[in-house]
Every structure is written in structure tokens, then in C-alpha cells.
Amino acid sequence: MSFLSQNASTILTLTIEHLWLTGAAMLFAAAIAVPAGILLARSPRWARPVIGLANILQTIPSLAMFGFLLPLPWLGDRAARIAIVALTAYALLPILRNTYAGIRGIDPALVEVARALGLTNRQRLFKIELPLAASFILAGLRTATVTCVGIATIAAAVGAGGLGELIFRGVASVDNRLVLAGAIPAALLALAADGALGLLERWTKVPSA
């Protein structure tokens, strides 16, 4: 118990740092992948190569990804920048794939009716396609978030902070309490994100007829 009280403020600081790294990466990833997914849904012949590229990013081992980014000029100056870029890269695929699939999966008859009624492309996107694909897009965001909360622990290896720092310190000093002090909050964060986004996903889901 005394361990907890001694380390409470460190754990809290690192948890907030962890949240900030993941949250920033999610915002960037969504800002890139949702519009990209919409564009791909409009011109599907690009879907295979672009989603393939995002897939390759996903397969790079996370430690290697952080290592690759380290020597880059502006990025290498601050460890947090590296972490956010790497996490963004990992988050792209699930969001991109789900946005694309969500929009392509809409009943073509509905899209056709929207055109026939004289909705502009923009109205069709914002009033029909995005609301109908929203639960898909959120499912992608949820997968990405849970993955990135885990991967963010490795960002501590390049000094970006976050809960991984406790884990690395615990491993180095063979102190399981430190490892758990990093791992448990990280797991709870992942569960909380999963639960919250899952609720949002269910709330936006349009029941089929």
C-alpha cells in the first residue's frame, strides 16, 4: 500500500501522458483516415493499393517503428512527436478500412435515391452516408484506440513517457510492482476506451429493417 501512496502522483502523471499520446494520435489518425476512406469509397480502384499500404505500416514491429523515426530531423527532437507519429501510423488502417467498408456497404438503392431526390454530393455525404456508416467508423476507431493504448507503452523505449516508463523501469530493476503499476492502468485505459467507444458505436448503429 505504501508503494502505491509513494508512487501515486507518478502513476497519475504518466497515465495522463499516456492518454495525451494516444488521444493526439487518434485525432491525427481520424483526421487523415476518415477523409481518405471517404475518397476511397468514391474511387474504389484506389482502395486496394492504399489500404495495402496502411496494412504494411501495421506490420512494422512497434519497437522498430520508433527506431526508424528517431533519426528524422524535426521528429527526433522530441520523443513525444515520434510516439504520436508512430501511433498515428498504426491507427490508420482500422479507421481507413472501416470508413471505406462502412460507406461502400450502404445499400446502393439508398444512394441512388439520394441522388435522384437532388441531394448534393455534400448533403449525401453528411446527411446519408456518414450517419449510416458512423457505427462502422467508430468500430474502426475503437480497434485503433485499444491497439494504440497498448503500443503506447513501448513509446517509453524512446523516452516519450507514458505508462511504459514504469514497465521498463520495473523490468530493469526486476521490480514486479513497478511493472504492474504501469501495466494495470494501461489495461484499464484500454478497457475504458473500449467500453466508451463501444457504447457510442451501439448508439449510432442504425437498426436494419
Binding site: 445499400d107 438503392a109 439508398l110 441512388e112 435515391v113 439520394a114 441522388r115 435522384a116 431526390l117 437532388g118 441531394l119 448534393t120 448533403q123 446527411k127 446519408i128 450517419p131 449510416l132 442504425v206 437498426p207 436494419s208 429493417a209
Partner: protein, 274 residues
């Protein structure tokens, strides 16, 4: 609603001039169609599947652009019209209805008005007017979602939506094809009343000869993208033209459309005329 002045040659509401259509590298689906529809008239397009009926319908609101020929609405070439404005001036009803599942019925009905940024109160009022006109109680159905309605009720809502912006032209693609025979009959009766009430120029694609006879002023028989016949219902039934006779006889023998008794449906089915 203005009554057209007596004019030796009034401008037809819809005029197809030598319209052809083919998908790139595909067969000719429409082959030099010329056809005029008088204002306020209903024209039914009959023909077997693949004869080009739906294709013809879809060239009017430019869901498909003719590869050759022109279409004039009220004397104006559709190509010269702003695409969005053109489509908003044409009501569109299809068999699958296509109500948006995430919109309430009243929002669905008023969606064209919403896209034109009509104020909300006005939209709701108009939606309720139209729901009442198609026989759906606005207080009961306005706030429901499409999945909470039966097929017939959805089709009524789809019709209300097509009428919402008061378009002079209605395009209907087998609007009652997916309904059971009794509901279909009710819808056809309602449609006839509505056509009397709101003067619309209607292009109706159907497989159902009875429906065409009941609703249309002109019946056009299409085959391989060409017009085989363009007759009044009386002329159509009496025609000695072999293709028309074949169509009428095939319809009579098979029974009207797919109006065969459904074993799962306990309700009596009206007998086909002998």
C-alpha cells in the same frame, strides 16, 4: 395550378427526341426513342425485363445521360438545366422505396425541402399534409422510423416524399411491384385519386397490365430499347399488332403480374379476368 390556354400545339411536359443509351462498350439499351408526354397525363411503360423501361425512366432525371438524343421538359433541354435543380423538380418513386432508415418518416418525406433549407416548421407542416394525403395519420406515423412501418405504409411514405416539393413530373419505377395484391389495389386506387387531385405528368414503369390500364392515359410497349406501340388503353386492348396481342394474351394467361395466390397468405386473391 394554371389551366393551359387552348393552343394548337402545347409544349409537351416531357419530350424524348431520338434518345439512345448504352453503357460504355455495352449493348444499346435505348435505341432512338422518340416520345412525348402531355402535361398532366400518365404514361405507362410496359415491356419485358431488359427492354429498357427503367433505363428510359432514369434518363429523365439524368441518373443516366443519354449517349445520343435529347430530352426536353417543358421545352427545356435537360442538359441545359442545373442537375440538382432538375432532380428536385422531378418526383421519384421506386419499388424498393428507399426511405432513409435513420430518418423519421416526416424527415424522410420532407428531405427534398430540407436539402433546399426550408425552415423546419414549414417542412414538418408540409410532411404532415402529404402524409395525410397518402392516407397515413401524421400524428401516428410522423415520428416513426421506416422499419416500424409495413411495406404498404412505406410505399405510401415514399409517394408522399416524391410529392413533397410539388414537382410537376413524377417518375415511378414499379412502385407497387413488391406489395401484396390487396395493398397494391389500394395503392393503385389512391394513386388514381392523387393524380386527379394533383395534376402531375407521370411516367410509370410497370409489369402489371391491369395497373397500366387503370392508371394510364397512354401505354407504351418497349422491346429491345425501341417503342413497339404507343396507344391508349382501349386501343392497346383492341390492337391487332402481333406484339401487343402477344403481350396482352401472355398477361391474361399468366394472371395479372405475379398476382398468383400466395400459400402463406390466407387472404382471398381476386380472380384474374378470363
Amino acid at each position: 395550378m394554371t389551366v393551359p390556354a387552348p393552343n394548337p400545339a402545347p409544349t409537351p411536359a416531357i419530350a424524348f427526341h431520338n434518345v439512345s443509351f448504352a453503357f460504355p462498350g455495352g449493348n444499346l439499351l435505348l435505341d432512338g426513342i422518340s416520345l412525348t408526354l402531355d402535361e398532366g397525363s400518365t404514361t405507362a411503360i410496359l415491356g419485358r425485363s431488359g427492354s429498357g423501361k427503367t433505363t428510359l425512366l432514369r434518363t429523365v432525371n439524368r441518373l443516366l445521360e443519354p449517349t445520343a438524343g435529347e430530352i426536353f421538359l417543358d421545352g427545356l433541354n435537360t442538359r441545359d438545366r442545373h442537375l440538382i435543380a432538375l432532380r428536385r423538380s422531378i418526383g421519384y418513386v421506386v419499388q424498393e422505396v428507399g426511405l432513409f432508415p435513420h430518418f423519421t418518416i416526416e424527415r424522410n418525406v420532407a428531405v427534398v425541402l430540407e436539402s433546399e433549407s426550408t425552415p423546419l416548421a414549414q417542412r414538418i407542416q408540409r410532411a404532415h399534409e402529404l402524409l395525410a394525403a397518402v392516407g397515413l395519420d401524421p400524428a401516428t406515423f410522423g415520428r416513426r422510423y421506416p422499419r416500424q412501418l409495413s411495406g404498404g405504409q412505406r410505399q405510401r411514405a415514399g409517394l408522399a416524399r416524391a410529392l413533397a416539393a410539388d414537382p410537376p413530373i413524377l417518375l415511378m419505377d414499379e412502385p407497387f411491384g413488391a406489395l401484396d395484391p390487396l395493398t397494391r389495389l389500394e395503392m393503385q386506387q389512391m394513386m388514381r385519386e392523387l393524380l386527379h387531385r394533383f395534376r402531375k405528368t407521370v411516367l410509370l414503369v410497370t409489369h402489371d397490365l391491369d395497373e397500366a390500364l387503370y392508371l394510364a392515359d397512354r401505354i407504351v410497349l418497349l422491346e429491345s430499347g425501341r417503342i413497339l406501340a404507343n396507344l391508349t388503353p382501349e386501343e392497346f386492348l383492341r390492337s391487332t399488332q402481333p406484339e401487343v396481342r402477344a403481350y396482352v394474351q401472355a398477361f391474361r394467361r399468366a394472371g395479372p403480374g405475379d398476382r398468383s395466390p400466395d400459400p402463406a397468405d390466407p387472404r382471398p386473391v381476386p380472380e384474374a379476368a378470363p
